[in-house]
């Protein structure tokens, strides 16, 4: 079919838990996109993931109100928080890092955990191999005040 792009949006949606409340309802509703069909498809696609894990999702919609979605892996900060045993804070369930990154350590994770995170996020990182992906995760850890040991 003659897909004619109308717009793109990126929403952070908890895995398996898309529903018509904000941001999904207003964001899609204001563009006339079928909210329930979106929620059904999103929840089906994320049913194997950890329920509630925040998934950045790029929604591309077309002039006839059809749409596609590209569901990314949760942010590195989410995985690091989990590995470090930090509690989620903020409206987007993201962890707050250190107030003074580089000068304050709020938690620690192991190299093995960093490798696991790198492997989980490989498909969304611009990295050629796991080692390169680990460097990106290490950068995120550092900016959050999470020390890597082992």
């Amino acid at each position: 079919m003659a897909k004619k792009l109308a717009g793109k949006m990126k929403l952070q949606i908890p895995a398996g838990k898309a529903n018509p409340s904000p941001p999904v309802g207003p964001a899609l509703g204001q563009r006339g996109i079928n909210i329930m069909e979106f929620c059904k498809a999103f929840n089906a696609k994320t049913q194997e993931m950890e329920p509630g894990a925040p998934c950045p999702t790029v929604i591309t919609y077309y002039q006839d109100k059809s749409f596609t979605m590209d569901i990314k892996t949760p942010p590195a900060s989410y995985y690091l928080k989990k590995a470090a045993g930090l509690k989620p804070v903020g409206k987007r369930n993201r962890p707050r890092g250190a107030e003074k990154p580089g000068r304050e350590t709020i938690a620690t994770v192991t190299v093995a955990q960093v490798r696991e995170i790198a492997e989980a996020k490989m498909k969304d990182l611009s990295a050629n191999d796991v080692e390169a992906a680990m460097k990106i995760i290490l950068g995120s850890a550092s900016s959050m005040g999470i020390e890597v040991k082992g």
Partner: protein, 292 residues
């Protein structure tokens, strides 16, 4: 619960996308960010964020200035039943004898129409676009003139709405193909939802590139609602798969592109019979030379 949006406009896609990324890093984090092309020919892009608490005006003003965008307009999102609002907007589409509707309008099917249940979801072809509507109207017109399709293919089928329309009014099953696996899955689901299993066969293929499509040809009616360049690329294959005297209904063509497509198909012995315009989009009804 009050939620907020902050929207601005600017005239460059790259800057719009960069601003969208910058919005994500705001102190009051947005729960969503959107970058939208404004469809009024102005060339403007709209960038907005959705917030669960009121965003900071100064931060927004700095972002707008940094990306040469208009000042942000912050609004409280009305507490609305968004599901119901969308359903009210996704109204049924009438195209000739065909009535394309979502399940929420199942009680509105007019007597004597050919109903096609299509949810606006993950495949193009909901009926809410001039190209789909144009193809359905062209099909309705051909059938009204006495044409009875014996062997129909829908290339780039999306929801398979066109194949299902043909299978509803013609005696034999139709075949539908799409290059996109998700679209094929949606098409198969639509076939089931319309109780048309066995009446429409769906395959994943680029153009006519599938054994089933080769085996079933030649066709006396082929739909191809794709875009100009894929249609032009498809022309030789169309000529070889279309029976003498067979029809091709083509869409996905902007008005300014139609002459070029007609010319290419004419060079393959497939000549224009009719040209219909809905909005900016043209639907061509073409016929291959030969036959009765």
């Amino acid at each position: 619960m009050a939620t907020y949006t902050a929207f601005t406009k600017l005239n460059d896609k790259t800057r719009a996308e960069a601003l969208g990324e910058a919005l994500e890093e705001m102190e009051v984090e947005p729960t969503g960010v959107g970058v939208f092309e404004i469809e009024d020919g102005s060339g403007l892009w709209e960038v907005g964020g959705y917030f669960l608490e009121q965003p900071d005006d100064i931060e927004l003003a700095l972002l707008a200035a940094a990306f040469q965008a208009q000042p942000f307009v912050v609004s409280e999102v009305p507490d609305e039943d968004w599901v119901d609002k969308v359903r009210r907007e996704l109204t049924p589409v009438v195209a000739g004898r065909f009535f394309v509707y979502g399940s929420h309008d199942a009680d509105k099917i007019p007597e004597g129409s050919e109903p096609l249940l299509i949810e606006a979801a993950m495949a193009f072809g909901t009926g809410h676009h001039g190209t789909t509507q144009g193809c359905l109207e062209a099909l309705d017109r051909l059938a009204g003139e006495g044409f009875v399709g014996q062997n129909v293919a829908d290339i780039g089928c999306g929801t398979a709405v066109l194949a299902m329309g043909a299978a509803r009014i013609f005696p034999n099953p139709a075949i539908a193909s799409d290059i996109d696996q998700v679209a094929v899955e949606v098409a198969e689901a639509n076939v089931r939802a319309n109780d048309m299993e066995g009446r429409v066969v769906c395959v994943e293929a680029a153009g006519f590139g599938h054994d089933d499509l080769h085996a079933r040809g030649p066709y006396d009616l082929v739909f191809a609602n794709i875009l100009k360049q894929p249609l032009i690329d498809l022309a030789p294959d169309m000529a070889s798969h279309l029976a003498p005297g067979g029809y091709a209904i083509l869409s996905g063509i902007l008005t300014r592109q139609a002459d070029e497509v007609v010319e290419v198909y004419a060079s393959q012995g497939i000549a224009q019979v009719r040209r219909d315009v809905i909005g900016d989009w043209v639907t061509l009804t073409l016929r291959k030379s030969g036959g009765a």
